[in-house]
């Protein structure tokens, strides 16, 4: 596997900004390697941590947040280790994936408790500010147990933001949010990133990352497969060959005809039909009916075979 690096995410740490450094970080459970030799530096701005489920994103986030020790390597926030060091939480906030909230409290009580635990000088004012930030003023006195999933998520974000941390880590923050809440959360992350905060959020959905973040770290099977500017990585993803399963009335004749088409890079004739590799998704899907018509062949089936996120990621790893 080769890691693609299109751009360094490092920003020179200015005053009141924080940098999270991972150097050669691995984590294994028995024989299972969850995170494998990851080195990355996160500076101010929004970074997306992208990868399919089970890629090790949560394990990596937990190590960053001091909730898991690295089996090898170091995780530091401004030079201080995050493991066994509660003092880092003055500058770090975490919104974990698990929907864990004290359902017997109201959002106001929950966020206020966070503010008090942080020993903030004016916990009430900090609570009001955090609740405003996530637009939960209307429901703040109701018990969290009565909230929708998106409202609970926003309450947890408010609690994680109440002490105005330099670094905010969010594990799958858009899960369970409706489109409006999603947009609002995206705008909030943008604002925080623009204000010089170091924001990292994980997601397994490409479009989410595309809308929020210009910088991504892509994880596949525990490894850092790509890191850098989203657009460069997206181009690599869209330029990859697409694989289609095609069945027709005359597979052999169609195979011959398709090989003459510029967008097709390979055809394999199998027992159940053709497997066609095409460099350009749009050009191929437009050309196929034209070719079939010209040769008097009827196409019975056209299925794109590799559209799963996993195949996109594995292509990235192989690139």
């Amino acid at each position: 596997m080769t890691a693609i690096s299109t751009q360094s995410t490092a920003g020179a740490p200015a005053a009141a900004t924080s940098t999270l450094d991972l150097v050669g970080v691995s984590r294994w459970y028995g024989n299972v390697v969850a995170v494998n030799d990851v080195t990355m530096r996160l500076g101010p701005g929004v970074t997306g941590l992208l990868g399919p489920n089970g890629a090790g994103k949560t394990t990596l986030l937990h190590m960053m947040a001091g909730f898991l020790s690295a089996s090898r390597g170091t995780v530091t926030l401004d030079g201080e280790p995050t493991w066994r060091n509660p003092a880092v939480y003055r500058r770090l906030g975490l919104v974990s994936e698990r929907e864990a909230v004290h359902t017997f409290l109201s959002a106001y009580e929950f966020v206020l408790a966070s503010a008090k635990l942080h020993r903030l000088p004016d916990p009430e004012a900090a609570t009001r500010r955090a609740i405003e930030l996530v637009e939960m003023e209307d429901a703040q006195t109701r018990r969290i147990g009565t909230y929708s999933k998106g409202m609970r998520q926003r309450t947890r974000v408010a609690a994680a933001l109440v002490h105005d941390p330099q670094v905010l880590l969010l594990d799958e923050p858009f899960n369970g949010m409706d489109p409006r809440q999603r947009l609002h959360m995206m705008a909030l992350l943008h604002r925080l990133g623009d204000a010089g905060r170091t924001i990292l959020f994980s997601s397994h959905i490409l479009e989410e990352v595309e809308q929020v973040s210009g910088t991504v770290q892509v994880m596949v099977a525990g490894r850092l497969a790509a890191s850098g500017d989203y657009r460069t990585i997206r181009r690599l993803m869209t330029n990859r060959p697409h694989v289609f399963a095609v069945r027709s009335t005359d597979d052999r004749a169609l195979a011959v005809a398709l090989m003459a088409e510029a967008s097709v890079s390979g055809v394999e004739l199998g027992r159940t039909g053709l497997t066609v590799k095409a460099g350009d998704y749009g050009a191929f899907t437009r050309a196929l009916p034209r070719i079939a018509l010209r040769h008097g062949i009827r196409v019975r089936q056209l299925l794109p075979e590799d559209e799963s996120l996993e195949s996109v990621f594995s292509y990235l790893v192989e690139a």
């Binding site: 090790g56 937990h62 698990r98 408790a113 020993r119």
Partner: protein, 236 residues
């Protein structure tokens, strides 16, 4: 009241699990009142009700429910992360939780055991039982709180200790009584209000020292384990 104490208390009283605490103390009071009103000789009903039910069942079971609940329930549902992502030294989390657990257990057990002690013998015995069970509640709570950080099955392990070690082995293998919180409580109560209703082979100094050692030792263990608290990853 510290914020950790407040959240712990709200969490404890807000869960239906707390209702499980009520029946046992009520049974203890009910039995004592029944025996007294029927005029049964306290020498006959005292030991089985005070020791057999009160100190051997009500105290450890209440302490088990509360002690594993103050932190274990938060670990189970993941809410513990909210308290742990704060810049608090870990002893500032463990000590308030231990105080809530020991306090709630001591009150829940203290009231019925006082009533039973007074009905069986005297106010002095009632007060001695209250004081000794408070010390026992502290030791049990420290043990069960630490258990919820060292194992994923603290209730099961706690029950094994109470039922197998204290209950079964304590009855048939005399040597195990030295390491039984229940026997220490009996020894301490008997020292404060000597009565034939309570009897143990464990000496008072041993009981006092071991109660303190267990309370302090398991508290220190819990603080250390909380420092290295790990959240299970998605691949674990």
């Amino acid at each position: 009241m510290s914020t950790v104490t407040w959240i712990t208390a709200r969490g404890l009283f807000g869960r239906s699990r707390f209702l499980m605490l009520l029946p046992l103390p009520l049974v203890l009071i009910g039995l004592a009142v029944l025996c007294r009103s029927l005029g049964v000789d306290p020498g006959q009903w005292g030991p089985p009700v005070l020791v057999g039910l009160g100190l051997a069942v009500v105290l450890p079971v209440v302490a088990l429910i509360v002690g594993t609940g103050v932190l274990g329930a938060e670990i189970d549902d993941g809410t513990v992360v909210h308290i742990l992502t704060k810049p608090l030294p870990r002893w500032q989390i463990v000590l308030p939780k231990l105080a809530v657990a020991a306090g709630v257990s001591a009150v829940t057990v203290g009231i019925p055991i006082y009533v039973a002690g007074v009905l069986a013998d005297s106010v002095r015995l009632g007060l001695a039982l209250v004081a000794a069970s408070a010390a026992g509640a502290l030791a049990y709570s420290a043990l069960f709180l630490a258990l919820s950080l060292v194992t994923r099955r603290p209730v099961l392990l706690g029950l094994v200790y109470v039922l197998i070690w204290e209950g079964l082995l304590g009855r048939f293998v005399g040597g195990t009584r030295v390491l039984s919180i229940q026997q220490w409580v009996i020894a301490l109560a008997d020292r404060m209000a000597p009565t034939p209703l309570l009897g143990t082979t464990v000496s008072v100094p041993v009981a006092a020292v071991l109660t303190a050692l267990v309370a302090v030792g398991f508290t220190v263990l819990a603080i250390d384990r909380l420092r290295s608290f790990s959240v299970a990853g998605e691949t674990s």
